[in-house]
């Protein structure tokens, strides 16, 4: 097997892993009980899935076509930085508008902080 064939297999595995992680995160969006758990599923596994797919596409264009796409590298860095921040902002906006936690949650460390802020 030539180097290109081996790298095509690696690229296929990368893209399949990315697609699988995206499916897992969308199942998580349906099955998890409250908003905070869902942002957990949506930001982490979907981000990793997208990174794997973009890396596979980058390697494909690089090895098979001989074209180094700076846009895909930039996209990898960009998604890696922005998706967690988006999840953080969604979660914080939900907490500040008093979206309830799952009824089986045991600990809410921010509850007292919220009270202090209102009093002070």
């Amino acid at each position: 097997m030539s180097a290109i064939e081996i790298s095509k297999i690696v690229i296929g595995i990368l893209i399949l892993i990315g697609a699988l992680l995206s499916v897992v995160s969308s199942i998580g969006l349906i099955r998890l009980p409250d908003l905070y758990n869902r942002t957990h599923a949506a930001t982490k596994s979907a981000t990793l899935g997208i990174l794997a797919i973009l890396l596979g596409a980058f390697l494909f264009f690089w090895i098979v076509d001989g074209y180094i796409s700076a846009r895909l590298l930039l996209g990898i860095a960009f998604v890696f930085v922005t998706a967690p921040v988006g999840g953080h902002l969604i979660g914080r906006a939900a907490y500040n508008t008093k979206v309830p936690l799952w009824e089986k949650s045991v600990q809410d460390d921010l509850k007292n902080k919220q009270k202090q802020r209102v009093e002070g």
Binding site: F78, V81, V85, H88, L89
Partner: protein
């Protein structure tokens, strides 16, 4: 209530430069690849809108002290000027010329007057988008 926006603001400070660089890349790529003045202008406007979201409008106005309505006028002058310019060479309106030049910092470069027209489109798109968003956002 004063909110703590440290994460959003720090990420914005880094990413705005990435988005602006990408918009300029898209703008110059427009001749031979997908891209051009319209989409480049929209991406630039999106970067400035991100600044407006992370900070506030007064701060953004302080760091980008342009009157966007005047930029619309400048962009239209660019677009019309490239059209009128062809009259000086006995050519019909909006006839574009292009040639290869040896620039000392880029080497052999393909320069076209379509770029000047695209600069006009770019300025108009940026300024119109930001005018719309700013006038809606300041409505108190």
């Amino acid at each position: 209530m004063k909110t703590n926006d440290t994460i959003l603001q720090t990420v914005t400070k880094v990413l705005v430069f990435v988005i602006l660089a990408f918009s300029i890349f898209i703008f110059f790529a427009g001749h031979n690849n997908p891209g051009g003045g319209f989409i480049g202008g929209l991406i630039t406007a999106a970067a400035i809108v991100l600044l407006m979201l992370a900070f506030d409008m007064k701060t953004v106005k302080k760091i980008i002290p342009f009157d966007y309505k005047k930029i619309i006028a400048v962009g239209l002058i660019f677009a019309v000027g490239t059209g009128v310019g062809s009259f000086f060479f006995d050519a019909p309106f909006l006839t574009h010329a292009h040639d290869y030049f040896d620039l000392w910092f880029l080497g052999k470069t393909h320069l076209a007057t379509a770029l000047l027209f695209d600069i006009g489109v770019y300025l108009v798109v940026v300024a119109v988008t930001l005018t719309i968003i700013q006038t809606i956002g300041e409505d108190e």
